[in-house]
Subunit: 375 residues, 2 copies
Amino acid sequence: MTENSIGLVETKYITFAEAPQQLLLECGQGLGPITLAYETYGELNDSKSNAILIVHALTGDAHAAGFHEGDNKPGWWDNLIGPYKAFDINKYFIICSNVLGGCQGSTGPASINPITKKPYALEFPLITIGDMVNAQKYLIDSLGIDKLLCVAGGSMGGMQVLQWVASYPERIKSAIPIATSLKHSPQQIAFGEVGRQAVMADPVWNKGDYYETGQPERGLAVARMMGHITYMSDQSMEEKFSRKLKDQNYSFSFKSDFEVEGYLRYRGDEFVKRFDANSYLYLTKAIDYFDLSGGKLIPSGQTIDTKFLVIAFKSDWLYPTYQSQDIVRQLKMRHIDTTYCEIKSTYGHDAFLLEVEEETHLIKHFLNKRVYEEN
Amino acid sequence: MTENSIGLVETKYITFAEAPQQLLLECGQGLGPITLAYETYGELNDSKSNAILIVHALTGDAHAAGFHEGDNKPGWWDNLIGPYKAFDINKYFIICSNVLGGCQGSTGPASINPITKKPYALEFPLITIGDMVNAQKYLIDSLGIDKLLCVAGGSMGGMQVLQWVASYPERIKSAIPIATSLKHSPQQIAFGEVGRQAVMADPVWNKGDYYETGQPERGLAVARMMGHITYMSDQSMEEKFSRKLKDQNYSFSFKSDFEVEGYLRYRGDEFVKRFDANSYLYLTKAIDYFDLSGGKLIPSGQTIDTKFLVIAFKSDWLYPTYQSQDIVRQLKMRHIDTTYCEIKSTYGHDAFLLEVEEETHLIKHFLNKRVYEEN
């Protein structure tokens, strides 16, 4: 257990949108029933005014903090969530929801289609960030929370933050989008598409119909390896690996000679054990479709009182700082209370998981002084 | 035909290193016979002092300029090679050599192994940039050229330029390494490795033994798609594609919705028609192994009188300008006559093929005023 850990936690599940009350998706199809996996940390106060929603990145899950029974590693944002941490559970009630379309307890392409009694596979409808947020709204409603004190998340999580504001501004007191964008650029779409092609090129993928035979591990690992390059920076790779060899000399073969090669292969292999290939396709497509640019974040004529803390990282070349600056520009043009901070990190996009000290400082101050005390 | 085109050209072939006079490779193995495909443009003067060697990038070939019979498109550097162009064939005798390990007329893994009478496939030894240059030296020797007026090339071509200087400084009057590096960084190695894994993940690859059954098109296309992202810049992709859709609306399927997706798929599909998957593995490994850092470019105690023009492009994030600056630093420390130019281009790494006007200006001036007139 780390210092100020929440300790043992358990994932919970909520199921809703049973037919005929299905969730109407942006693609026009209805979907239901829908299950979302989520975790909560801390206590909801009597006025239900201290709830913070944490939303996760592409391959994240509901387990943001604390330990599951038997785990060696805590949740993915454990160093930001806990007693006296950035998201202080002595003050706040924290909810972390897995996304619709995911594969870690929530309804997605690997789930059983109630009509066919078999996994949906590609029968699962394409979902959007908007659909993810609409599903999360069921969860927030079911907890009796009228207004969230804050929604916070990085990367695809940041898109959900922005989408919450766009879809339900009256439900959000403050928002912390981190290392994210109003829309995917063609380069970001291109990386998404190559990842998808890597999966779909694997014959084991079998047009998505692989649940009885095992998943397309080779293709999915390639996609993940490429992803990992984009999550790090040139500099952080240099610091971590440089040209260090695994053995003393070049092998003069196609074995992995360099430590960075071994690392990528390892990360690829680990990933396929925990993540469903079809979910990877659906979620990358959802972020490619995401587009709240050109005034769509806050439709004209609408006024909102959500306060923003926008965080970006200088070495993040996957979600470059100019994209966060675009968010800030949109907000400032609408006279919305916005704080922008660019953190000098060398970690690249992964910085949103790693720059704990700076993030803690910024988030704690923002929540305590700007949001909570005015509550 | 474009203006000042060389017109029709033909690829020539030279074969050497027949057993027992095989070429000793850096891996310790001998290789022979070796064929290199090459083209020449212009006339070698009587003193054989006007020869310029052009060396190509990863998937380039010997066809740098002019047209082959029936071709609609000229060679890959046609806008820099021809009468009155940067490499002016009225003055210079231009040689462009395909690389050892390649698949466009030169000996590589797809060639017939004289012992087994079948394609080498993975029996082909791992080759290095040093081996490529040693093979090119046979060609230059056979043409009776003692000293090259210049060696020029971009990307992997730039590595061959640097290697020529490191291996045979007395044979090189001037050198133009463009958009290249003294060594591959871990990020560059990582992209290489993911490309290789994409190929090797394709079961059609069959451990390299596919010459009778057809090549691993899906895997190789994925590798090439990823490569294309790294050859462009975020900005050039924005200018070329933005978020333009192929149809009016999102398909809500895994078809390619965005123009950038269609473009990448097209480039991937085109590539597999012209390039051998095993060659791709061998050449990417050769550039990953390349390392002339730390004084290896010019061993201490050695003095050389080669003049340098080093060119880099601001938006090139695959071979960032700091890597060209490292080359310049190494040269300046050894008091070598070096001109460095950073071109403000938005094209990314592809700029070395596209920034014709700037390159023409720089190269013409360098060759005419700094090299040729002092001849």
